[in-house]
């Protein structure tokens, strides 16, 4: 059959619908899960707060500047979350803390996802000895509790935000490697992988074009849940003084600073604590919702 086509005839076919129908189906299933939608709303608020933190309260003058006359003020209209022992507005500090927590959470998960994902994909795809070597090495890391590993790394590198992200990220590498490997193993058994080999696809193209896109669902879910634990780890490390240094407003270090006054000035630990809880809880709810929405079979 000969096919004569003019440009005009081909063009309308080229702009792809780009899995629009697929995306909207996922969104529909996600919306059905109320908790997940609530979680998404909370996270959206937190993200907005992080983005507009400087509009809400200036970092220099309100978040870190000591104001001796306004120490330990309980929540009122001027300071809706009250002030801390140095007279700093806790609301502004919590808002600026959102920046750090979300940033550290996302960056450290990205680090873990990149390295863990690569290792896991290689291990799962190639199998055999490569798999054994990579996974046994990661098992050694996995044997150490995540928080302990993070503490060790921060202690070795010194305390700073960047080192904190590296520590939390590295500590999460084995988990990501496992999840990605398992997903890759599942996808690998499909015949379209064999078909890709038959048409002469080199391995790296098979991994990037066929294997990883089909592993997207479990990886996305795991990453969302891990952002939550990364935020907790950050807060935890800062709480024991290994994370973000004062006076930088960080939820964990705010908790640590306020815990001495918990009897008389409960608001100083209540609000940063609530912020941690809300963000972790809502990320978990989003993760669960995503899992149900992305793959109905995963339930």
């Amino acid at each position: 059959m000969t096919m004569e086509r003019t440009d005009a005839e081909i063009k309308p076919l080229i702009p792809r619908r780009r899995r629009k129908s697929r995306g909207s189906a996922i969104w529909r299933r996600f919306r059905r899960n109320r908790l997940a939608v609530v979680g998404l709303a909370i996270i959206a608020t937190l993200v907005l707060a992080a983005v507009f933190a400087d509009v809400i309260g200036d970092y220099r003058t309100k978040a870190i500047k000591i104001n001796v006359r306004e120490r330990h003020i309980h929540p009122n209209l001027d300071h809706i979350f009250g002030t801390d022992e140095f007279g700093r507005d806790i609301f502004v500090r919590v808002v600026h803390g959102t920046r750090i927590s979300l940033f550290v959470g996302i960056i450290s998960v990205s680090i873990a996802l990149f390295f863990g994902g690569t290792l896991g994909a290689i291990a799962g795809y190639y199998g055999g000895r490569v798999d054994t070597v990579i996974m046994r090495l990661l098992d050694v890391l996995l044997a150490i509790p995540v928080i302990l590993l993070a503490i060790t790394i921060v202690a070795a590198l010194g305390t700073s935000i960047i080192n904190l992200m590296i520590a939390v990220g590295v500590a999460n590498i084995p988990g990501f490697a496992r999840v990605v490997r398992a997903a890759v193993l599942g996808v690998k058994s499909n015949e379209y992988i064999e078909a890709a080999r038959a048409i002469g696809s080199p391995n790296y193209k098979i991994i990037f074009n066929h294997v990883l896109p089909n592993c997207f669902a479990p990886i996305m879910v795991y990453a969302t849940l891990k952002v939550a634990t990364a935020i907790m780890a950050t807060a935890g490390l800062s709480f024991i003084g290994l994370g973000v240094k004062p006076p930088t407003p960080e939820w964990g270090s705010m908790l640590a600073a306020g815990r001495g006054f918990i009897r008389d000035h409960m608001h100083e630990v209540l609000f940063p604590g609530l912020a941690i809880m809300l963000s972790v809880l809502s990320l978990n709810m989003i993760g669960d919702g995503l899992r149900d929405a992305l793959d109905p079979r995963l339930k």
Binding site: M3, L13, R19, Y192, E194, R197, P213
Partner: protein
């Protein structure tokens, strides 16, 4: 034979399992004439699909050789193999698993062209995609569809289009219609037949369905537990089956007649394990004619007529009885 596209000699594939060596394909040899179809028949687990994958070197063999147009498939380097794979392709059984669910139909068909850099011009490449779609009878409007929006028959056409997209000469068809509805089977088979004629394709047609293979093949090889037990031109095999296993298989084909002629041979016993098989004929434990020699010595393929080979000790003996 001068016009053989593909020759297989002493091909073996053993898989290591915790229980021992699994003889998936055990010393098979055959050759395939250009432009013809060889039907490879056998029950599940007899090594049919493994053979198909070995020919394309999707699996590495334990030993043996495959020559494709004089080139030793197992000795090629990465680049040469990539060149070769433009000429040999595979169609899978389950189109729902053999087509990436995250790629649209046109992307799927386009992929081989992209990877092998067949067209530098995107427009020309897309034109080729539409040409291929027309060739396998897919309407243009499916170009942007995703696999889950298509039915099995159409999806299998996509698989065929993908296999044809390069300079394909040889296609391993691994049960290409077994997963399809009976009503669609004939359509897909007819399509494959037409394409063979038009493009001069050579097929290795793997199936467990003798009715299909009879319809479709020029030559048939019957496999049992990793061995070819009988090979012959298609009509000859149906008229004059020699191996007891072939006999049993043929008798199991449903006949659309009111008055059944011939008895159904019902095989007794279990399929012997392909793991570290016992010496002797692999079929001996289920064979109604088995003698002592059958469990001691392995029967070799020998010629019993033009192009008709069989691996059975009892051939001459049984022929004498029935004659």
């Amino acid at each position: 034979m001068p016009d053989d596209l593909l020759t297989v000699t002493n091909l073996k594939k053993y898989f290591k399992t915790p229980k021992g060596l699994l003889h998936a394909v055990d010393d098979i040899s055959f050759s395939m004439a250009r432009g013809k179809t060889l039907g490879l028949v056998g029950e599940s687990g007899c090594g049919k699909s493994t053979t198909g994958r070995l020919l394309l070197r999707l699996l590495e063999p334990s030993s043996g050789e495959v020559f494709f147009e004089g080139k030793d498939v197992f000795k090629l380097g990465t680049m040469e193999l990539r060149e070769l794979r433009k000429e040999m392709q595979i169609i899978f059984q389950d189109p729902f698993s053999s087509i990436d669910p995250r790629m649209s139909i046109s992307e799927t068909i386009e992929e081989p062209l992209k990877i092998n850099r067949m067209y530098t011009d995107k427009k020309a490449r897309l034109e080729r995609v539409f040409e291929l779609m027309a060739m396998v009878g897919l309407a243009d409007r499916y170009a942007d569809s995703y696999p889950h929006e298509l039915d099995g028959g159409r999806l299998q056409r996509v698989g065929i289009a993908r296999a044809l997209s390069l300079n394909t000469k040889f296609i391993v068809c691994d049960e290409p219609v077994s997963a399809l509805d009976v009503s669609i089977r004939a359509q897909v088979l007819n399509l494959m037949g037409e394409l063979q004629e038009k493009l001069g394709l050579t097929y290795l047609f793997i199936t467990h369905d003798l009715a299909v293979v009879n319809h479709f093949s020029d030559e048939i090889a019957v496999m049992y537990l990793g061995k070819i037990v009988e090979q012959s031109p298609a009509e000859e095999l149906f008229l004059n089956p020699v191996h007891p296993y072939t006999e049993a298989l043929l008798s199991a084909i449903p006949q659309p007649t009111m008055t059944r002629t011939g008895k159904k041979i019902i095989l007794k016993g279990e399929l012997a394990s392909p793991i570290d098989p016992k010496p002797g004929c692999r079929f001996a434990s289920r064979c109604g004619y088995a003698r002592e020699i059958c469990s001691q010595e392995e029967p070799l393929l020998r010629s019993v007529g033009t192009g008709h080979r069989v691996a059975c000790h009892l051939f001459s003996e049984r022929r004498a009885v029935t004659a």
